[in-house]
Symmetry: C2
Subunit: 228 residues, 2 copies
DNA sequence: ACAAAAGTGTTTTCCATACACCCATGT
DNA sequence: ACATGGGTGTATGGAAAACACTTTTGT
């Protein structure tokens, strides 16, 4: 093995959530060169005996305080241009993480330097992170159509209206609440009723749902056609 | 950098084509341990100053004799379980390559040990290549629906019937030739007429097409619903 | 003439959209 | 009572499936 060039391998995370001001990405500010003081995706080196998804989970936990499977986590892609890191040959495996807007504000974690930024204002990131973020956004937008991924942005129990807000935020569109309701409740395995309804809200109480067992949506939730 | 664990990085290729006996994958037979004599996906180590897609192209050229952009090539995913290679910590970036059935049988290349095997009989591959192959097949099947990827299995000029054979082979279904014809010719940017027709075939000559400029299909070519 | 494959027209069925309308709660 | 949001019913338009039918070649 020693005859082959050594690489450093990192994982970087595109962590997305939905907040009052729209879709937001978790960024850290770099404290050391290269790209000192620049915003960057959270990430770090993979350990010698660590699986890649495990490394991604660890980094996510370090930055958000989330333990285990509270978030959706999937591999996004690998970026390995020879000059992407001035320190040497570093290949990074990017992961996409989707989280509900956390009610508990990440107390007592290493997330000191991390902050949420609306995706529209996440620009001029360190390394090739602009591209990685763009790829992550594109992936999220596309997968909402044909997978139940939108539920990853919701807490364990949620209403149809909350789910619709996810679609409207990620896609930056408006959806007809009535047809949306019929679509998602009619797609097998997408949602299962939690058996209770909301209280104390304005208007008629809404049924509460949990994520269903489906891994793909048939039929898909079609994105409206402003160009495409 | 020296404080972080060194990894070896390889690229592995899932090279698919369509032959008379169906969908086939390019495999080599390993000549050295580990997994000596086992079939494996072609691949190799990434060089120090080599970009990842470039390494994939190089490996593809070495195994098939194909120069440059004669094939579709896309990143499939990265596999880095700590124990996946007994020789040490090796992370592999898998690429998916789609080729037309080559009329010229790869003369005079290093492809001595490489051979096409129907995907149904590609089993018990070295390392974690069974899983990588399965992921590649799944990716190819899914992307036929909403991208013009099927044309990557066709020569530069082809007929609608040839294209339909691609779909039928990859999906293992039958498609109505008449509705299929209408669909693909009616999808903007999918196909552009080459202006000529086939000769010397049985039946009425078919119009010849080339790949169009579209990168996504609207509407998609829907896969029939045997379960799903 | 006939077989074979390409391609078109037509009917039917289904689904998405649009939107009128009713329901259940807070104020 | 009224506003607010949840949820259902229904008409309509367009696309996809099913398939009859025509076209153009080789044998």
């Amino acid at each position: 093995m020693s005859e082959y060039p050594p690489f450093a391998v990192t994982v970087d995370l595109v962590v997305l959530t939905i907040r009052a001001d729209g879709l937001a990405v978790l960024l850290i500010r770099r404290g050391v060169p290269p790209y000192e003081d620049a915003p960057a995706l959270p990430g770090g080196f993979v350990r010698v005996d660590e699986d890649l998804p495990r490394a991604a989970e660890r980094e996510l936990a370090e930055e958000t305080g989330l333990t285990g499977a509270a978030a959706h986590l999937e591999q996004l892609g690998t970026y390995g241009t020879p000059d992407r890191d001035p320190r040497g040959r570093v290949v990074t495996v990017a992961y996409l993480a989707l989280l509900p807007d956390l009610p508990a504000p990440v107390a007592g974690t290493d997330a000191a330097g991390a902050e949420w930024l609306p995706v529209a204002r996440a620009r001029n990131l360190a390394f090739d992170h602009d591209r990685i973020l763009a790829d992550g956004l594109e992936r999220a937008r596309a997968k909402l159509e044909y997978t139940p991924l939108a539920t990853a942005f919701c807490p364990p129990e949620f209403t149809v209206a909350q789910l619709r807000t996810v679609y409207e935020t990620v896609w930056e569109t408006r959806l007809d609440p009535r047809n949306f309701h019929r679509k998602v409740t009619g797609t097998p395995g997408f949602l299962v009723p939690a058996g209770r309804a909301t209280e104390g809200e304005r208007g008629r109480p809404a049924q509460v749902f949990r994520r269903g067992p489906a891994t793909a949506l048939h039929p898909p939730i079609i994105r409206p056609t402003p160009d495409r």
